[in-house]
């Protein structure tokens, strides 16, 4: 008898990008579905700009963190931050890259460009999405987390959660719009 894990998801990004909120959106959707979920957050420091990640585990799980090589999906709200969590990937892991490379606030350190990260990830299943295009269309820079959730939803990362459970947890029209926009981009991607 093994533990029934339904989803092991890691979201990496930069403090201030709304990762904790993204984690709350997933937990609320799971709450609606009556699913057990554990989201481990690193929000020790209130400052912006540092590397932040969350471990999301859905299913009959106990441990709060995902084992190495154990992630079904890794989302990087910034490409270098997806790379940081690569130890959790295996050859089946879906890696979603936001086409964004941000330099750290340390002098003289150059981040890897999206293409460079992609090259390093050549042995993995990688899908790219440009969240900034979505947020610019909506005119609200805060919606990138609902956009990437919609995109992942469109790629069937969350088969255990219904669309309505996600939508009901979204605060405000812009988040709903960006969720659907992300989902449509994913559907287009699958079709092509």
């Amino acid at each position: 008898m093994g533990i029934m894990v339904k989803l092991n998801l890691i979201v990496g990004g930069i403090g201030g990008q709304g990762i904790i909120t993204l984690g709350k959106m997933i937990t609320s959707a799971c709450e609606k579905e009556g699913l057990k979920v554990l989201v481990s957050e690193m929000h020790g420091l209130a400052q912006r700009g540092g590397a932040v990640n969350i471990h999301v585990r859905i299913g009959d799980v106990y441990a709060p963190t995902i084992p190495l090589g154990g992630a079904d999906c890794i989302m990087g709200l910034e490409t270098n931050e997806a790379l940081r969590n690569l130890s959790y990937a295996n050859n089946k892991t879906l890696i979603i890259l936001n086409e964004l490379s941000i330099r750290p606030v340390l002098p003289g350190i150059i981040p890897k460009k999206v293409e460079e990260v992609e090259k390093l990830l050549s042995g993995y299943r990688v899908v790219k999405v440009n969240l900034k295009e979505i947020s610019e269309k909506i005119g609200d820079k805060r919606v990138i987390n609902s956009a990437i959730l919609g995109f992942a939803y469109g790629l069937n990362v969350f088969p255990m959660i219904s669309e309505s459970s996600f939508i009901e947890t979204m605060r405000g029209e812009n988040n709903v719009k960006s969720f659907y926009m992300g989902m449509r981009i994913a559907h287009d991607f699958i079709r092509n």
Binding site: T65, G108, I110
Partner: protein, 604 residues
């Protein structure tokens, strides 16, 4: 108590709601990661519960202790290192006991996500003879804090409730218990028990040991044996979550002793769990607290069993499923394929001072002022707060940062052993937390040092909790303590360089301490108070020479370099604070847009 429906809660919220279900009447704490949300939640949801942010953990514990002396149900919360500050009161509380309940939450931080050490506070239980209860997830935290209050109330003894980052900062579904009416105290006195002069202390010591015997019995029922088999795994606190999952994944048959009380371990239940067992594995995070006690128990009872623990699990950092699976695999002789960490070259991305952070300007001003004063050798004696980031380049202005309030005492020592005049850098909340005795010492012992207080009006690092600086003027405090040279400045104002230089000149001339206070609110606090569109910085490309000062030496995250080295404003990050305007030697940066309502809170 009626069980309400499940809600998704942060572990710390689960602890707070558990305290409310226990009838907590008085709660006090000092913010510190990962403990801060407990008091915040009680403040938000505790009807008729007195909750406060105290000036430090010692005062918080004393507040709860005093309330429990009066018979109230009291809670004190702190991060693990905060307990060192509160330890004096903690030790005495074990001697006197209490009349109500006294539960002390210690939020430990294995792996040091935001702490200077990963000290295992279960040692305090052994040290002070105070029982330690530790949960393994938010649900058990919610239920066990109720047991902690019950145990404290029935034995009239303090109880340590130990949580960790991976419980406090995990969101999970929790079945909530209903709140109980808050229990406050009744005014009464008992100096024969609570005034610890030697005669009373000696009497209390005997009573403390008697209570400890009772506690040993009481904790039996808080622990459980699960499953059977000839191999026993003893798992304490969060280790249980990892053990449970690893055992099921490996499909091995194990008897598990699930411990909620690592101090003291339940002797009877542990001996019972050892029956028909050939080997024991103890899984616990950090130090061998349970292991030491189990080994003692085995020796005392002539049990002949092989015990393994730290030799397989290791002593450092948070447990992971990989570590626990590998240890259990070895214990059961199951071969485990070891996954190695993938080594990719990833850039460092430490936390940074936010756009608009006044500390950035203070660090720049301080450096310029010391250069202007002709100071060559200087020691930056740092402290704990957002400004600890000053340890990083380009600032490099935290030569040591040891513990809360340590900047002043360490600076004194540096001066006494080298004769080099140091600069002590301390935040407003830290100043009131443990900086005051160090400042008094500098006056009392005439230490030539410059003290730079970074007053951003809140306890910023832990989420902008209220700081005493809102109500008490640091300048007046410094004056009152006998500091002869005190000045305040706005770090966004260019004249601040001169203010700091003058103070340093004065220290060198007079051989006494001087205090300069950089007063400007935390940018996140301001953003919370403003209403309307923010102004924004603009770079005049014709004036910008690509000198790199604004992004490589000032390092505001909202200023980024263009391929031609000229500066560009990141519109997503810029808040229009204007701190960069005086930094540009070519006057290429200006601020556009109206100041929104509430903008004056920068200088509140």
């Amino acid at each position: 108590m009626i069980v309400m429906r499940k809600r998704i809660l942060l572990g710390n919220e689960a602890i707070a709601f558990g305290a409310l279900a226990s009838g907590v009447g008085i709660a006090a704490g000092y913010p510190g990661t990962p403990s801060s949300e407990i008091i915040e939640t009680i403040m938000k949801y505790g009807d008729n519960v007195y909750a406060e942010w105290s000036t430090n953990e010692k005062v918080a514990l004393e507040t709860a202790y005093g309330a429990a002396i009066m018979g109230g149900k009291a809670l004190a919360t702190m991060k693990h290192v905060g307990m060192n500050v509160a330890a004096d009161a903690l030790m005495s509380s074990s001697y006197t006991g209490v009349d109500g309940s006294l539960v002390v939450v210690s939020a430990d931080d294995p792996s040091m996500w935001s702490s200077q050490s990963e000290q295992d506070n279960r040692y305090y239980g052994l040290f002070a003879l105070i029982p330690v209860i530790e949960p393994y997830d938010p649900q058990s935290a919610h239920e066990l804090i109720v047991k902690a209050f019950d145990l404290s109330f029935s034995v009239k003894h303090p109880v340590i409730f130990r949580t960790t980052t991976r419980i406090s900062h995990v969101r999970a579904p929790v079945e909530l218990l209903d709140s109980s009416p808050p229990v406050k105290g009744k005014f009464h006195k008992d100096p024969g028990r609570f005034s610890l002069v030697p005669e009373v202390a000696r009497k209390d010591r005997k009573l403390q040991l008697q209570r400890w015997e009772k506690i040993k019995m009481e904790v039996e029922k808080l622990n459980e044996i699960e499953g059977d088999g000839n191999k026993l795994i003893i798992a304490s606190g969060i280790a249980y979550a990892f053990v449970k999952e690893a055992v099921e994944n490996l499909g091995v048959r194990a008897k598990i002793l699930k411990l909620s009380t690592p101090v003291p371990i339940p002797k009877e239940k542990t001996l019972k769990a050892m029956e028909d067992v050939e080997e024991i594995l103890i899984v616990e995070e950090l130090d061998p607290i349970v292991e030491m006690q189990v080994k003692e128990l085995i020796v005392d009872n002539d049990v002949n069993l092989k015990v393994r623990g730290k030799s397989l699990i290791g002593r450092e950092g948070e447990l992971t499923l990989d570590r626990v699976t590998s240890a259990i695999g070895e214990f059961f002789n199951v071969k485990i394929e070891k996954l190695r960490e993938v080594t990719v070259d990833v850039l460092p991305r430490p936390p940074a001072l936010c756009p608009g952070c006044p500390h950035r300007s203070s660090f720049i001003d301080l450096k310029k002022a010391l250069a202007l004063a002709g100071v060559k050798d200087v020691y930056f004696s740092g402290d704990i707060g957002c400004y600890s980031i000053g340890v990083l380049p380009p600032f490099n202005e935290q030569d040591s940062l040891i513990e809360m309030g340590g900047s002043l005492g360490v600076a004194n020592g540096v001066y006494r052993s080298t004769g080099v005049i140091p600069v002590a850098i301390i935040g407003d909340s830290t100043f009131f937390h443990a900086g005051l005795p160090g400042l008094a010492n500098a006056v009392f012992n005439k230490t030539p040092m410059l003290i730079l207080v970074l007053d951003n009006r809140v306890t910023a690092m832990t989420g902008q909790q209220r700081s005493p600086s809102k109500d008490i003027s640091i300048a007046k405090v410094a004056n009152g303590l006998g500091i002869e040279y005190v000045s305040e400045f706005d770090p966004f104002d260019y004249t601040s360089i001169k203010e700091i230089k003058n103070a340093m000149d004065w220290v060198r001339k007079n051989g006494k301490p001087a205090v300069v206070i950089a007063k400007r609110a935390c940018a996140l606090e301001v953003l919370d108070s403003v209403n309307g569109d923010l102004p924004i910085a603009e770079v005049d490309e014709n004036k910008c020479t690509g000198c790199t000062i604004c992004y490589d030496h000032f390092t505001c995250p909202a200023i980024v370099p263009l391929p031609n080295k000229k500066a560009k404003i990141d519109l997503d990050q810029c808040i229009g604070c204007g701190a960069c305007v005086p930094i540009c030697p070519f006057k290429a940066i200006t601020i556009k847009g109206e100041q929104p309502k509430g903008w004056e809170s920068w200088l509140s």
